[in-house]
C-alpha cells in the first residue's frame, strides 16, 4: 500500500463522521469539502485521471449551491420569526 490511498481512506472516515457530528451549517460544509478531497484522492489512486478531473471540476459547483441555499435559508428563518404572527391575517 502506498501513502496516497492510506491518507485518502483516513480523510474519508474522518470527513464522514465529522459531517454527522457537527451541527452548524458552515462546519458541516467544510467537513463535506474534506470528504470530497478524500474521494478525489481515492479515485486518483486507481489511475482514473479523467474521472478525477471531472470530479474536481464539479466539486465547487456543489459547494456553491449548498452555500447559497444555506444563506437563503438562514435569512428566511430570521425574517419569518418576526412577522409570522400578523402577516397571515393580512394575507387572508
Amino acid at each position: 500500500m502506498d501513502v496516497l490511498p492510506l491518507i485518502s481512506i483516513l480523510s474519508c472516515i474522518l470527513g464522514g463522521i465529522g459531517v454527522i457530528l457537527h451541527t452548524d451549517y458552515i462546519n458541516k460544509i467544510i467537513m463535506f469539502a474534506f470528504l470530497e478531497a478524500g474521494l478525489i484522492g481515492l479515485i486518483t489512486s486507481f489511475y482514473y485521471l479523467d474521472v478525477s478531473i471531472i470530479s474536481s471540476i464539479l466539486e465547487p459547483i456543489g459547494t456553491v449551491i449548498l452555500l447559497l441555499g444555506a444563506l437563503k435559508y438562514a435569512h428566511l428563518k430570521r425574517t419569518k420569526k418576526k412577522y409570522s404572527s400578523e402577516v397571515p391575517i393580512l394575507a387572508r
Partner: protein, 87 residues
C-alpha cells in the same frame, strides 16, 4: 497476506460510509431541520460513489457524480420553497 488490498479496502469504506450516513440521517443530532438532514444525506451518496469505484464502473461513477450536483440543486430549491409557502 495480500487479502487486504486496495479494492477490498475501498469496498469496506464504501459500505461503512453508507451505514454511518443512513443511521446519522435518521437519528443524528438536530435533524428536525431539513437542510441539516440534506447535508447528512450527502454522506451515503459518497459511499455509493466509492462502491461504484471498487467495482470498476467508470461510466457509472462519472454519471453519478455529475447527476449528484444537479440533484442537490433540486433538493435545496424544494426546501426553500417549502419554507416560503408554509405559514
Amino acid at each position: 497476506m495480500n487479502t487486504m488490498n486496495l479494492v477490498v479496502l475501498t469496498t469496506y469504506i464504501g459500505y461503512f460510509l453508507l451505514i454511518i450516513g443512513v443511521i446519522g440521517a435518521i437519528f443524528g443530532p438536530m435533524t428536525n431541520d431539513p437542510l441539516k438532514r440534506l447535508l447528512n444525506i450527502e454522506v451515503p451518496s459518497m459511499g455509493v460513489a466509492l462502491i461504484f469505484l471498487a467495482y470498476n464502473e467508470t461510466l457509472a461513477l462519472m454519471t453519478y457524480i455529475a447527476v449528484n450536483s444537479v440533484l442537490m440543486l433540486v433538493f435545496v430549491r424544494a426546501i426553500i420553497k417549502n419554507e416560503e409557502l408554509e405559514a
